[in-house]
Amino acid sequence: MTLQDLLQNTLAIQPLVILVLWATLLILVDLFIPHRYKATTVLLTVVGLIVALIAALNQFGREQVVFNGMIVVDGFAHFLQVIFLGSGLVTIALSYKYLKRLEIDRSEYYILMMYSIAGMMLMSMTADLIVVFLALELLSIPLYVLAGFARPQLESEEAALKYFLLGAFAGGFVVYGVALVFGATGTTALAGVVDAINSGSANLALLTVGAALILVGLGFKVAVVPFHMWTPDVYDGSPSAVTAFMSVGAKVGGFAALLRVFVSAFPALAVDLTPILWALAALTMILGNVVAIAQRNIKRLLAYSSIAQAGYILMAIVPYGQGNVSPDAVAAALFYLLGYAVTSFGAWAVVITMEKAERKGLELEDYAGLARKYPLLAAAMTVFMLSFTGVPPTLGFVGKFYLFRTVIEGGFVGLAVIGVLTSLVSAYYYLRVVVGMYMRDGEPQVVSEPLVNLTAGVTALATVALSVFAAPLFAWVSQAALLLF
């Protein structure tokens, strides 16, 4: 490859490059910023993210495969890149004061976050299992560290260790899965896999097992039952801002990989894999929602809710094998992910506002009477809860509507029914938050911060407004199709 096309290739992934270089530079720059002015680091991070975001936006509509088929830049990738960068910005908004409050405000936080975002972006563009693996690690390792960022606080460290050990464990499965895929097809490039399958040279048995193991690894990342068990503890133990980032970034990244890999490489295996996906989705929805009922701590409750949400998104992947449905399915999944991202950032914003000192004010009791003292905050939280439940007019509702539609289109009415019934169950615990805020009396204390409040407000408005004027969003999402081989 000449310098020429190297340059072109690099330009094709400029947002990623920009982000990485910026982060790397920031490490050095940060050394020379005196401690009093650390705010500038944050500012620079924001600038970097915004620059990358602009780069990503002006890349829209360009589809190309670069780096010898390692990377594919398509609408899917563009869409997700925007989400990732956006969530980065939101996370900063949530973190800035929060870190100060916990006295863990250190520049590495932002740098690591940027790298993690880089991993996610890579994840969205990958066209080769090697890259999938590396992106997964690049995404996770900063998260391991961030989870333990509140050290020497025990819970934080414990969360980090658990996350790390289990993550590594799951990573092992991914690696072995890739190995099997390689063994079955002689290549790790998704395109190659497809060719091998079409040419019939592939060993389908090994391929299926490999795919299943990859599913396990990625399923772990997005917290699909039974690979979900790290979620509550890690969400609970990590600093809330990190949790927020994790709950959106890691999940969206994981699903990006799942969609990319399965829809583009493994549709031929649908016969074998669909039942597994079906079962996993059902299990996840049921268990996530049911166990959530027993939660009293808001962070754990949201953790389980995010598990349940993973189940719903997984539903969209179930009919991935049907060529006529899968584009819709992908779109539905992306739309739901978007809704999920907006909603859960909002919810976490509220949680952060309520978190007095570290790990205080996180019980549901602490939310009693919120509506009286801080009506707007309570209203926002209500919107998020309703959106999670799937009640109009919220993004959550439109997302579910779209999701169920594709599932039924794929002919999985049974799954749809389960989804529907479980979201009925979910109403029960989401409502409990609302009940507490509006119908109980209490003396809630909040730490009001402009940025966090802004986040909550904006996300709340978006959750409602975007649901009413969903058309452009749909248009955008449905363009964000996968480039298939």
Partner: protein, 101 residues
Amino acid sequence: MSVPLAYYIGLSAILFTIGAMGVLIRRNSIVIFMSVELMLNAANLAFVAFARSYEAISGQIFVFFVMTVAAVEVAVGLALIVAIFHTKQSIDVDQMNSLRG
């Protein structure tokens, strides 16, 4: 060279399983971590074997990456373990359940 590929794969499978076992039955977090390394190693073996029979170098490349990642994980992981040892004076995972439910 006439050792069937299947043997190598079988061996890697055995090693992988043992590694997984390690994660499940050991309580010392370091050992657990080592077991993970073993799992990766087993995967590598499979890779190399496949690469050999496909005469495709990319398999070995993957192994190379896996090793790097392993190193990365070790760096972070050991740091974590040390850190938690400082707070908790223990690396027994069975004593780390302050988060549950």
